[in-house]
Amino acid sequence: MNSTTEAKSISQTGRCFPEEDKPAGNTCVADISRARTCGIFLKAVTENLHGMKFIVLLLMLILVFMLAYPLVNSWDFFMEIPISNWLSFDWEPDDDYFGMGIQMTGSFLLVLTTLPLAIIMGWVISLQLVENRKNWLNPAIVGILEVWISLPSIIIGIWAIIEIIPVVRNIFGGNGYSLLAATIGMTIFIMPTCTLLFYRSYLLHLDQYQGLESSFQMSVLSRSELFIKSQPTAVIGTINYIFCRIFGETMVVLMVSGNSLQVPGNLLDGFRTLTATIAMEMGYASGMHATALFAMASVAIIFILFVLLVQYKRLIHA
């Protein structure tokens, strides 16, 4: 029996798919059959799984190589410059002072102020979305959040310059370009990602455990407690991811932080982050200055890898 008659007989007897899975117009069987008869040559070329393994492995090796490339390029820097120099707080590349302390502190302070705000606000909005998931407002807000995620960070930066900086300047004094302004801008920027990640993992969780809603109604736990206790991986994974997003964000910070080369003493001081330094100085840097910027990128890569992979086994199993 050739493939076409075989396909016809299957489509007539309906043995290929259960009744509820049958696609509209019953064209799937015909297409499968056509794919089989037309694709003999393609199959001979491509269905070699050893070849496929090689291609995937090659792609992975290319990606690993790319991630390691800044480290390879900054190897000389780490060999030549003593650790006390590049961990210090003196960033004067022209005089061979390559301390990353100020930039690292700036990045960490930004994460420290933004992360709790973004997580709490994202959590509250996602719980509201879950509670109102049958309301018309839900798809509207989810749509808005999806657009927000793809919105360029410079748009938030411009909005922060127009709206936030004058408010901070008028209320607290100073020039407005400060840690506070950067925190507000970053919270607004990062909160949609946080909200959608929590919301989607909660919905996935509801799909997996159908009785969750009824157990929530009967339990003494709040909805948040129930979610954290039953789905810790989703919560930790989201926090790790948001941490990296805040640590690595460049444009919003570059536009509203003031980029002062100092450790901020309070929320109203300007500051500079690791990523903003790379973005600002890469255009004109040369020699050891450029290598120091690559080294800065390598430090950021290693740090982010550490944060992402700290829960590696748990996340892979999940």
Binding site: R36, T46, L59, S150, P152, I155, I158, A279
Partner: protein
């Protein structure tokens, strides 16, 4: 009415905040420094990057969706790489692109360098989007395809596109929106020339970087930056509505 607002005041507040942010950009349009080279270069670079990234991302999505069965360590490695690249800051990807494509491979500040850098940025987005559409398709038709002796690659590249044109288009449009929204990854690789590009080796200024320069460096450029931002928001909204229509009219499954 008041009761409804009181019950869901957080969601209403969020909607209000979004409206107020968009309202900030509603100003009389002004275009003085924007050239056709910027618009054309942005469209070509971002679209080219999406198309270049689509094939490897689709293949890896097939691995992650369980269509192509590989050793467990290799499957774990693919998942971990997607997870790592998704969390990697775009400026770091820009540094990698600058070092590798602009410097070592000698492409310089060009559209090609920017495209190749954007592939790194788009890879996790596209893999996630593709694997989300491939996983249910595999669960539904995988066994049937096996009974017809259809291999995984044929299933992936022949059957799935035939049935999920709309969903694939949706993922590609999402990728395009992502690449349009990024600045830091390309500001180190594309250059800043505003002239009309004649080949992929020419330097261009991408729209986002142009908006950044208008807002920060060019005196009196802020009104134009606001106008361009508004147009970009409207275009992104259009991009998010289009996939839903595409999905409705092109997906047979």
């Amino acid at each position: 009415m008041l009761k409804i607002v009181r019950q869901r005041w957080i969601l209403w507040l969020y909607m209000l905040m979004t409206m107020s942010i968009i309202a900030t950009f509603i100003v009389p349009l002004q275009f003085q420094y924007t050239t056709s080279g910027i618009i054309f270069g942005t469209i070509v670079t971002t679209l080219g990057a999406v198309l270049l990234a689509a094939l490897p991302a689709y293949l890896i999505a097939g691995v992650m969706a369980g269509i192509i069965r590989l050793p467990k360590w290799l499957q774990s490695l693919t998942s971990v790489m997607v997870y790592i690249l998704a969390g990697m800051p775009s400026i770091i990807l820009g540094v990698i692109g600058f070092l590798l494509f602009s410097d070592t491979l000698g492409f310089g500040w060009s559209m090609l360098s920017a495209m190749l850098t954007l592939i790194l940025l788009l890879y996790p987005t596209l893999v996630t989007a593709f694997s989300q559409l491939l996983r249910p398709f595999n669960q539904r038709y995988g066994m049937a395809a096996k009974s017809f002796d259809i291999g995984p690659v044929e299933f992936l590249f022949r059957l799935s596109p035939a049935y999920q044109k709309g969903k694939i288009l949706e993922a590609l449009i999402l990728g395009w929106a992502t690449s349009l929204g990024d600045t830091a990854a390309v500001m180190l690789t594309c250059g800043a020339l505003t002239s009309f590009p004649e080949s992929v080796m020419d330097s261009i200024r991408l729209l986002n970087y142009h908006i950044f320069l208008l807002a920060m460096d060019i005196p009196g450029g802020m009104p134009e930056a606001r106008s361009l931002s508004l147009l970009l928001i409207i275009f992104l909204l259009f991009l998010f509505i289009t996939p839903r229509i595409a999905h409705r009219y092109f997906s047979e499954d």
